[in-house]
Assembly symmetry: C2
Amino acid sequence: MSVVAQLRDALSDIVDTTPEALEAARADASGHRSDGPPLAVVHARTVADVQATMRIATATKTPVVVRGAGTGLAGGANAGAGEIVLSTARMTRILEILPDDLLAVVEPGILNADLNAALASHGVWWAPDPASRAISTVGGNIATGAGGLLCAKYGVVRDAVLGVDLVLADGRLLRLGHRTVKGVTGLDLTSLVIGSEGTLGVIVGATLKLRRTVEGEICTLTASFPSVREAAVASACVTASGVQPAIMELMDGESLAAVHALLDLPAPAPGTAQLTIQTDGASAAADADRIAEVLRRAGGDVDVTHDLDEGERLLRIRRSMHAAMASLGTTLIEDVSVPRSALPAMFDEIARIEQAYGIRIPTVAHAGDGNLHPNFIVDGPEVPERIWEAAGELFRGALRLGGTLTGEHGVGTLKSRWLADELGDDQWELQRQIVRAFDPLGILNPGKVFARA
Amino acid sequence: MSVVAQLRDALSDIVDTTPEALEAARADASGHRSDGPPLAVVHARTVADVQATMRIATATKTPVVVRGAGTGLAGGANAGAGEIVLSTARMTRILEILPDDLLAVVEPGILNADLNAALASHGVWWAPDPASRAISTVGGNIATGAGGLLCAKYGVVRDAVLGVDLVLADGRLLRLGHRTVKGVTGLDLTSLVIGSEGTLGVIVGATLKLRRTVEGEICTLTASFPSVREAAVASACVTASGVQPAIMELMDGESLAAVHALLDLPAPAPGTAQLTIQTDGASAAADADRIAEVLRRAGGDVDVTHDLDEGERLLRIRRSMHAAMASLGTTLIEDVSVPRSALPAMFDEIARIEQAYGIRIPTVAHAGDGNLHPNFIVDGPEVPERIWEAAGELFRGALRLGGTLTGEHGVGTLKSRWLADELGDDQWELQRQIVRAFDPLGILNPGKVFARA
């Protein structure tokens, strides 16, 4: 019996082989696609569905690509020929909300935004905040380690997940982690699963660490600078001042112009770069005043608003970046991260590469935490080798500054060629061996993360 | 050539075989000892010393026990016959302090207190705060995942470590983790090493995530209750109120009486239990007032002081617990952790076990995070089987309440018999396989953590 027939036999109507479903599973939000359609998409409703799928995959040695909402930006969930797609997007239940213990237990398919909508009435929230939060799943968020805008103040994903339920390649279910603030029983496999991009198992549940709703107002600042370097220096000054904004986003001239064009806003003066900053909590207004002072001394043209809607409108400009880039062509979005004080030096590096390669690299940055998203725009579906070379230089520049290849998007297919450069061969090999302990047959997301160029 | 001769040949005067050194390495602060003296203690000064030691250990298949200051409470650093002790206590340098990037790079032997003394003038601090912080090393803190008093507000160890330099069993050096706020390159091996208790490699350096010094005053509250259950309920009410204290410690009647006796303080009324709470930051005074109100409504006799020295004096009572217990006999310190709202139920469980076994179990708790330290006091060096049984019941009670075997002390030798009960056999076996990927010969801290009863 074929793999698809076995899946149908076990799971009947949740096995989807319509051409639309197979085609959709070939690509994520990066715009890059696999080389061909997968075998089938299994729309799991329960942990048992996931286990049944994995048992068939193991028995038949068939590769499995786990997918949430497909909003990834590194090609990690792109499924190709001969592969089973295991979607957890329909597993959307919230199983527990315990505000006094600041924890919630959820299924992986719930969207970040839906989760926070449900948590709000309990006076709590879950901090991870990728730009795609309205349409991305908690499971995908955990699988990639996707961060977002709030990380400097409110932490990264590993700070916000206490436990993970994981179905192994052979279908066994493991419950990793704790429901307690503290817990050091054995090795921290929960952290190992966070950011593992579908290579260790299928996340079928998560115990999330919540925060209490932040009281007080939200203030939003924008500051314009004649050049991106001046904006980057100003953001470093804000960080050094010791005032902690909730959000501090930077857009360079190219990015700002592209988004303004997309949103039909008046064109900014050429080269104008912008910082968009939010403060929150009891000291929001005082913090905004101190930050405004720092920005003005750094040469910024500063506006401050205490109006929430106006603040959201201003942030929307930043959040429209990905759409603006996609409207220009196929984008290769980089995701380097550097220590915060190195942000100006990283922008110098980008300018150098632009000059050397005769290209533009529109760049936005989560300036509060040192994470940059430089965008390479190419015509057609293939990334030319010369652009890969420029991307390689960008990455090596980040490494020289004490940085990393990927701050939040993950390695997927688009960055696997550089993984060993950052980890070193010894660590790369050790990580591979750890993956083998979870997945001896190598059926979980093969060709991703640990594939070598 | 014997193992010791090989060590001397490679490392000369840092190889210590004096009877005092060998005897000291048999025990940690738990008071439990190994069955005999180890071969030698190597006092490593450099990463190269560690690598040389591990190469000899691998070549001769000799077990290695890594030690810091020996303040562990689970026997994890106790070295026995035929083993090399590798001490990193002399590797005490601070290599970098970068306040703008909120990070420091240190060697493992530096004491927590010395580190924070050095950081203070830069306006930053490192949050992990075990009760032993004045005498315990950062490396040991990371190796055990030791928490402390501040975890509910300021996080656990994995929230405070960005990277670890690790020497593998065969002497190779790996640099794990990042210097950036965000980083998701491959698997998070840094988190895997945190709390791994010397089973994965030797921590020879760490990149620490710092916090800015908390501004504002510190307020200290004490509240007395007629019984421990009332104190536990009151602490749960504080947590549920949404006010976040920096510290919230609970002492039961037995503990309070024992410490008062040790410190020559007037004896409290029999059964009196006490909460000691500190608030800090901009809203310290207002938070203290709100907490005092909650405690009074819960039936507490409440005192509040804004005086720092008086606050330290009050906390000293809590910090003297371990000395008070040690003065009564050999202690078996348990370390269960439960969701915060389950604290009163866990005290009921302890009372039930006291009754069933006809023993007293003096208990203190980090009530702010749900971590309890029940103490079994025994005569002589051996723990009777009946006490192990009572400890087993305690642990199963914690599990039933959604809790864990160890919140911060680690598994070591004293808790390994229950590890598989919490992890399940499948996860226990998987963790063993991961350890093997790091240490194929099984020479790193054998017989600890993953030893089965």
